[in-house]
Amino acid sequence: MNRLEKLPTLRINPAHPISFTYKNKTCQGVSGDTIATALYANGIRIFSRSLKYHRPRGLYSLDGESCNTFMEVDRIPNVCAETTRLRDGMTVNAQNVKGTPEFDLLGFLDKLDWAMPAGFYYRSLHKPAWIWPIALKQVRKAAGLGKIAPDFHIPGKYDEIYPQTDVCVIGGGAAGMSAALAAARQGLRVILLESRPWLGGFFDYRTVEYAGGVPLYRRARDLVQQLEQTPNVRIFTHTAMIGAYHHNLITAFQKGTETDHFDERYIEIQAQSIIVATGCIERPLLFENNERPGVIQIGCAHRLAYSFGVLPGKRAVFSVGHDLGIEAAIDLFDLGLEIPCLADIREDGQDAYLVARLAERNIPLLRGWIAVQAHGKTVKKATLSPIDGSQQRDIECDLLVASAGMTPVTAPLSLLQATLSFDDHTGFFLPIKLPPQVHAAGRLLGLTNSLSIEASGRLAGISAAADCGRQDVSKLNEAREELSRLPGPQRGSKLVTAPLKGRKTFICFDEDTTVKNIRQAIQMGFDEPELVKRFTAAGTGPGQGGIPGHNLPLFIAQTNSDGDVKTKATTVRAPLVPAFIATYAASKHDMCKRTPVHDMQEKAGGMMRRIGVWQRARYFSQDLSCREEIENVRNNVGMLDASTLGKFRIWGPDALKALQRMYVSDISRVCEGKIKYSAMCNEDGCIIDDGVIVKRAENDYYFTTSTGRAGSTVEWFRYHTRYDGWNFYMVNLTDVFGVINLAGPNALRVLEKVADTYLSNEALA
């Protein structure tokens, strides 16, 4: 096992091997691995082929923002290897390949990009007309990623829970943990959601100093310990927030581990106050072949080594735009990674301490330089250039660690209806207006200093507590002051793309959309980010906005010659992380009501059918024409279970007035002890219901409605009399009485028997 074993930050246990099958061969991973890290440790670099061009794709971020590592696992398509925990006995296969991922027969499509400009399918394949039906079949076959069999049954248990809480914190990094602790210390119930299997975020895998000689990862573990000792905090790890709705309703789903009683569970949280502390992901660097296997993001390289014990390559070129890149280079160098140079988009502004440590290691720092091209099917060489493109330099390597900078994970805020706006200093889309009872904290606000990040978390926690009635003004002011004394948001790099034409520079991996495609779309008049997105499909694939979300609007704003196009983000939609239909459907108990004669009817051979919320016998015959049954009613007698009809009593001084308003007939003409059939209309004058009304006494009536209306009739009455202040009472008796309908020439005789009395038509009239 080729793992780094001594690192204190590791999240794997090399002592516990796990075997799985890939391409019909048994491979070994270790406990704590994801499918992707295990494959990577086994030397696998090409995980899949891309949608349109069938380009090789590999590990990129470890957080599944693209479908680069989507695989078929145990016959389930589109499983994200980067975020799926490895389990013993898994069968893993590549998808969207004809052949193997390494040698794909459709790989030639990559050369046909000239024939597939932006939106080419709108402008081709329809002339002559007979071509389309044939092309249609091919298009369908070529599109789509995974395959599913019509008789496929996904195994596993899918559960659901509906917890309520005072404060819901989304994101278990330093800011989220600090927020949760601060809110909990005000005596509130807190739920903390974290999509990774452990808390810690950006602190978790880093060894640089937090403060007072304590490394970041230690600090993270301290916070976790404090949280675990706080009984009013409920922690959900491996839980991705997927939706946010009116009145602070948050949805999420949790992946179970071996010890859980579920494989996945749907979680719907009703919170009073919400804190979004989802931090940042990296903004992809745009250069030629920027999605080649071997091009990975900073955090991916860093975490592969420090969390998963896998040294990501032998010789790595870095092209970054953020201090985290320099830090990763230093850390990885110390583990034995050769680093010929580090290009930094920024001309200046690097952390002096980090720069000095680079120099100590003789790693050349190229300020104002950028990767312009990656070479090889998996990276073999990188071309670097200054950002003005004035010269080029080729460097051999098997890894290109590339990242343009950070991008805040603001999607939860967007779903919560926060207003975001482009911020020039950070280059982020930042919240400028948050809805009430929603707070944001941490790195997603552009903060990079660890103490600031925690302080902003505490401030959010205390503010959220105030939403829940635990106002503590002095604490609030204290937290505000603390934050204002600490370093604020850092200047972000704004560079969008390397100096090049961008023939194979991918702004969206999932849809194979290049920057050239974006330029084409703009030329064709699609100057609105939302329209560019639709026309080029950028950001509409399985990863949604994960890869292009930030770069696309920046690039459009930069490219569009028209001055009046603002840098505008495109719309974010739930689910933020794709979730199984099985998980959403969860346990789905089919709840329905039974009538008092249910068992009797079933015994008599009744075919029970669902009608609204009820089960009811629909017929009793083998033959669907039900001839015998019908004839028996016509010539003899039949009985119908009408218990599902709505049944109500209405009484009180204004009961008649209310009935008069609702029914089309004059109910005042119904005499005591008599019955009348009538109908109700909606405000458009359409009949919505019918039934009978019985007068029991003065201003005391019993009436029936159709089955479908039983649930809404009381509200209907109340709604339509809401301005009148009338005095009447209503009870819904639908479930209280059974009803039997007798029909046929002998109906009266049966009724006589039951009632044990003589009955005649005249007597009933």
Binding site: G144, P150, D151, L531, Q544, P578, A579, I581, A582, N682
Partner: protein, 410 residues
Amino acid sequence: MGFLMLKKNKRFWQRVALQSHYDAVIIGGGLHGLATAYFLARQHGMTNVAVVEKEYIGFGGAGRNTAIVRANQRTPENIPLYREALELWPVLTEELDFNLMFNNCGNLNLMHSEAAMNAARMNVATAQFHGVESHLIDARQCKELVPALNISEDITFPIIGAMYHPPGGILRHDAVVWGLAKSASRLGVHIHQHTETTSIGVENHKIVSVDTNRGKIYTPRVLLAAGGYSAAISYAMLGIKLPISVLTIQAMVTQPLKPILDHVVSSGAYHAYANQTLKGEIATGAHMDPWPNYTTHTTAYYIKHQAEALAELLPCLRGVKFMRHWAGLADMTPDMAPILDGNDLIEGYYMDCGWGYFGFKSCAATGKYMAQFMASGQCSDILKPFALRRFAQHRLMGETAALVNYSPDN
């Protein structure tokens, strides 16, 4: 590869300055507005026409629908219009020189009770009478067409059979918007995006002008084709109350898959339909939120509901993931038929709205006849049953078998 060769990337539509005079102003750059503009220019030589769109073209229902088309409606007034619309797709593809990606895969409307099966007989008979292919099939035949379908007895609403309508299918909704806009623009129509109508000028019961956030336009004709916003505009700007309730309607797609679903499948009992888009996503939706509102927000309830329905109807999809969920507005009339009218209350004032969740399938034919109406001032017979006055005259259409509840009470 000849058929793949593409011409240079010319602009599809021009950016032009707002003129002070147009022969007609169309409010709304959605399906119906753009289709009418196109036919005005193409068939009636009326090219001095402006389409004013408050956001960008396709912002409304046009960019949010699931593009299901069919012509097996219930009433004899509706079918001819939808039938012509269905027949127009291949024609339009050629005329617009734009691939609308018509996939006439056929629709299966599932029936879950013998009673529903019986009710469907009437629909089928009406459709056949009007020359539209539609017939009933049993559960086994359903399964043959859709192998993923669950026809077992032990689900909430077992499948008894279906109304099968082979000529229906799906298109690419964006393609229709862009194709119409492109051709309309090339014929001379001005498309003004980010231009919101703020008021409509009337003098002596005649349309004289339209005010927008970008300036005043003098015009003798206005078409109201603002989708979900039409009723509000009509009332706020002209004081004409339309019997329209606006409700949110949601839809969602799964991650893309290789072909698994070759037809449009819908079920009233489950309140769900599903079809596979050309990109491979399973698109699903159906139900409206049961309260009027103008937000386009989704709900947690609905995506879960949809998952529960699909999990029973097409159980293999349990192993597939939802990827994107969105909402739009449905402008519903009491009889689930649109309001197509003009020159009645105000001279030069035309209406094409109330399309609810079925205004995609009809846009081509409706645009054609509305254009003819606006160009000639004469309403053709096919549109006459849809006049606004039908509500006052108690001549509602029976497009819905049982009344849907979308009033403010529930």
